[in-house]
């Protein structure tokens, strides 16, 4: 909530070099692409609308050289590499369209998976595959699940890769299975559940059109167009801090702001919330991993 993006900051960011040359230079993308100067920028204040407009302009420029693509590339390598205690790749992972089918899978998740008799979102399913196919321990993956200055966790890159394989496709989250409908309904309840010392629910901040916290626009996630914000641009390269994040991180940080305790990484609670929002957005085109302010 602390950072505002201004023209000056944006100019400095472009000077800091965002062109995707890191891979070409043989450096791991995640390390190369930190936009640290952000924090050091003088705290300039801009009126909200110009701020957003500046960011949008900058996003358009960046979209041609989207930093998220570097993480897609890394995720693709991780997907095909033999790794983990079982020395296996993820190429047999079933994302809902059959073992090994990645194309178009992301825009159809969360969905019901018969093998676990549960609804799972993309990252939850990927972690499940890392566990079952490669022998990684979910508890280990949950220890540091979010990108930091020192590392980008593998599930983040993998999710970005999988998401990239649905670029330009329409969201088609299934609601045929009773458990899928249940996930939607339970997700709706979680979304509206007010509790904690500030009496906040998700809907306090995301329940109406056209609201803001400071200068940050809050999408109305119960509306059809607003709900797309829970999918569009995620996984996203976040300019504040210069880190690649999935929607799992966003949910974690929103629950923090809600003054709730911490939700488990890739827990059912998050799957159900994502189901609620993604179904509300069904039919809209997913543009692929993006950029967030």
């Amino acid at each position: 909530m602390k950072y505002t993006i201004t023209l000056g900051a944006l100019a400095a960011l472009s000077l800091a070099g965002i062109a995707p040359s890191a891979a070409a230079q043989g450096k791991p993308a995640a390390e190369k692409h930190h936009m640290k100067p952000m924090h050091a920028m003088p705290a300039m204040k801009a009126a909200p609308d110009p701020t957003t407009a500046d960011f949008e302009k900058f996003r358009e420029v960046l979209e041609d050289d989207n930093p998220a693509e570097l993480f897609e590339q890394k995720g693709k390598e991780l997907w095909t590499m033999k790794r983990g205690p079982k020395n296996a790749s993820l190429e047999q992972c079933d994302l809902g369209l059959g073992p090994g089918v990645v194309k178009g899978a992301y825009v159809k998740m969360p969905r019901y998976f018969a093998d676990v008799d549960q609804v799972m979102d993309a990252e939850r399913r990927i972690v499940y595959c890392m566990e079952t196919l490669q022998g990684f321990k979910a508890a280990d993956l949950a220890k540091k699940p979010f990108s930091s200055d020192s590392s980008t966790p593998d599930p983040v890159s993998l999710t970005t890769y999988v998401a990239g394989q649905s670029r330009g496709m329409k969201l088609a989250i299934p609601q045929k299975n009773p458990k899928e409908r249940e996930a939607f309904e339970v997700g709706r309840e979680i979304f509206h559940y007010r509790a904690g010392p500030y009496d906040f629910s998700c809907a306090t901040c995301h329940g109406e059109d056209g609201k803001r916290i400071r200068t940050q626009v809050l999408p109305n996630l119960s509306s059809k167009s607003g709900a797309m914000a829970a999918t569009q641009g995620w996984p996203g390269y976040r300019m504040t801090g210069g880190l690649m994040h999935t929607i799992q991180w966003r949910m974690n940080d929103c629950f923090r702001q809600q003054r709730f305790p911490e939700p488990g990484y890739v827990s059912q609670t998050i799957t159900d919330l994502l189901t609620y929002m993604a179904v509300n957005a069904n039919g809209q085109v997913y543009k692929g991993p993006g950029i967030k302010r």
Partner: protein, 205 residues
């Protein structure tokens, strides 16, 4: 329905109201709460008890924040009963400190230091002073608050009450109950009242 979670309800009418919502929504809500209790863990100062509703939250959750009038009035009275006005009778502190408190967005999250004074995060939701253009819009603008309403003791008391417990005048308000929950101290609330009500505060220029 889990009656234990709503033990703070103060009258039989409210129990009856809750019982009048026996629909499927109730089952999904119970399922949602049970799921959160399974999936969440305490972190920093954010304990698992925060997942329990108090009586007011329970009513607002079950009525989509639109409680029937009689019940809202009754519960607003219950909230008012716990209002603690300053013993010295002074409702206004220093607007300069008030501005700092209004700016600070920290408080009550798992990443906040326990024991450190919380901010009010007022600018997250309100326009207040004329210099700060980075303000949110969840709440109404408070610019010229005292100037428009008048600098009367009643209006000081209204502002103090609103910040202490926003629910006294609006049961399902989106605004937190900063005094009721112990988030802000008496002195901090006085400073915020001064920010809104002191004729020399920039808010009223």
């Amino acid at each position: 329905m889990n009656i234990r979670n709503i033990s703070l309800l103060s009258s039989a009418a409210m129990i009856a109201l809750l019982a009048a919502f026996p629909s499927q929504a109730q089952d999904y809500r119970a399922q949602a709460v049970a799921m959160m209790k399974r999936d969440f863990h305490a972190k920093g100062m954010a304990g698992m008890d925060r997942l329990n509703e108090d009586g007011l939250q329970a009513i607002c959750n079950r009525t989509n924040n639109k409680p029937p009038k009689g019940i809202a009035e009754q519960m607003e009275k219950d909230e008012a009963a716990s209002l603690k006005l300053p013993a010295d009778g002074k409702l206004m502190g220093d607007w300069k400190s008030g501005e700092k408190i209004a700016q600070a967005g920290n408080g009550m999250t798992w990443s906040d230091k326990p024991g450190a004074p919380a901010g009010g995060s007022c600018y997250n939701c309100h326009q207040i002073g004329p210099k700060e253009t980075s303000f949110g819009t969840i709440g109404p603008s408070l610019f010229h608050f005292g100037k428009t309403r008048g600098f009367s003791p009643e209006n000081q008391k209204y502002a103090y009450t609103k910040i202490y417990d926003s629910k006294i005048t609006n049961l399902c308000s989106s605004m937190p109950r900063f005094g009721h929950t112990g988030t802000l101290t008496e002195q901090q609330i006085k400073d915020l009242v001064a920010l809104l009500m002191d004729p020399s505060s920039p808010v009223n220029q």
